[in-house]
C-alpha cells in the first residue's frame, strides 16, 4: 500500500551549497551535455562521408557565433568531465576521501578544466580552426 503523506528524505534544496556538491552535480550535468554534443560529432562525420557541400554546411554552423558558443561549452564540458572523471577513478581506488583532499582535488579539477579549455581554444584560434 502506498501512502502519499509519508515524509520524504531531504533533497537538494535543504542543504547549504558546497563546492564539492556543486562539482558533483556538474559532473552529471556535463555528462548529459556531452551526450547532446555527440550529435555534432555524428553530424560532422556523416557530412564528411557525404561530401563537400554537406561538410561546408557543418563548417558554416561551427563558424557562426552560436556554433562557436556550443563548441566552447562542449570543450569545457569535455575537459571537466575528463578531469573530474579521473578524480572519480581515484575514489574508486579508495583514494582521496579526506575532506581536505576532496575539496582540494575539486579546486584542481575545476582549474584544470578551465586551463585546458583555454589552451585548446588558443591553439584552435591561432591555427585558424573553427
Amino acid at each position: 500500500m502506498i501512502n502519499g503523506d509519508r515524509p520524504l528524505s531531504p533533497h537538494l534544496q535543504i542543504y547549504a551549497w558546497q563546492w564539492t556538491m556543486a562539482l558533483s552535480i556538474l559532473h552529471r550535468a556535463s555528462g548529459v551535455g556531452l551526450s547532446v554534443g555527440t550529435l555534432l560529432m555524428v553530424w560532422w562525420l556523416l557530412a564528411l562521408a557525404d561530401g563537400g557541400s554537406s561538410f561546408d554546411t557543418v563548417q558554416t554552423f561551427v563558424s557562426h557565433w552560436f556554433g562557436k558558443l556550443c563548441l566552447l561549452g562542449w570543450t569545457w564540458a569535455l575537459f571537466y568531465h575528463l578531469c573530474n572523471g579521473i578524480r572519480h577513478l581515484g575514489w574508486d581506488l579508495g583514494m582521496g576521501f579526506e575532506l581536505d583532499t576532496a575539496r582540494n582535488t575539486g579546486y584542481l579539477v575545476f582549474a584544470a578544466s578551465v586551463v585546458l579549455t583555454g589552451c585548446a581554444w588558443l591553439i584552435g584560434l591561432t591555427m585558424g580552426g573553427a
Binding site: R28, V32, L78, I86, G129, A130
Partner: protein
C-alpha cells in the same frame, strides 16, 4: 539451509538480478576514453580550418580510422550507461522509465552505428 537454487548460488546475484557489470563497464570505458578523447581533441585541432580534402585524408589513415572507431564505441557505450543511471535516478513512473531507457539506448546505438558507418565509408574511399 539455503533456499537459493544451485544456479542462483553459482550466479551470485540477488534480487537486483545483476551484478557489477554496469559499474565495471562504465569504469573500463572511462579509462579508455582518457587517451582517446585527448587524441581526438588534438586531431580536430590539427585539422585546422575545416578543409574537406584534409579531413578525408586524415580519416583514410588506418590508424586514425581504427582509433576513431574505438572512440565511437567507447563514447556511446559510456554515454548510454551514464544516461541510464540518470533516468533511473529521476524517473519513478515505471512505464515512463522503461520507455525512456529504450529511447536513450536505441538512440545511442543509432548514433554509434551511424558514426562508425561514416568513418568506414570515408576510410574505404566510398
Amino acid at each position: 539451509m539455503s533456499l537459493r537454487s544451485p544456479l542462483g548460488r553459482v550466479r551470485g546475484l540477488g534480487s537486483a538480478k545483476s551484478g557489477t557489470e554496469h559499474f565495471w563497464a562504465q569504469r573500463v570505458t572511462a579509462v579508455a576514453l582518457i587517451p582517446l578523447t585527448l587524441w581526438f581533441v588534438y586531431s580536430i585541432l590539427s585539422l585546422g580550418n575545416g578543409d574537406h580534402a584534409v579531413a578525408t585524408a586524415w580519416m583514410q589513415s588506418p590508424l586514425n580510422a581504427v582509433l576513431l572507431l574505438l572512440l565511437i564505441f567507447a563514447t556511446f557505450h559510456h554515454m548510454q550507461l551514464g544516461l541510464q543511471v540518470v533516468i533511473e535516478d529521476y524517473i519513478h513512473v515505471e512505464y515512463m522509465k522503461i520507455v525512456m531507457l529504450v529511447i536513450v539506448k536505441g538512440a545511442s546505438l543509432l548514433l554509434g552505428v551511424a558514426a562508425a558507418f561514416a568513418v568506414l565509408k570515408v576510410s574505404f574511399g566510398g
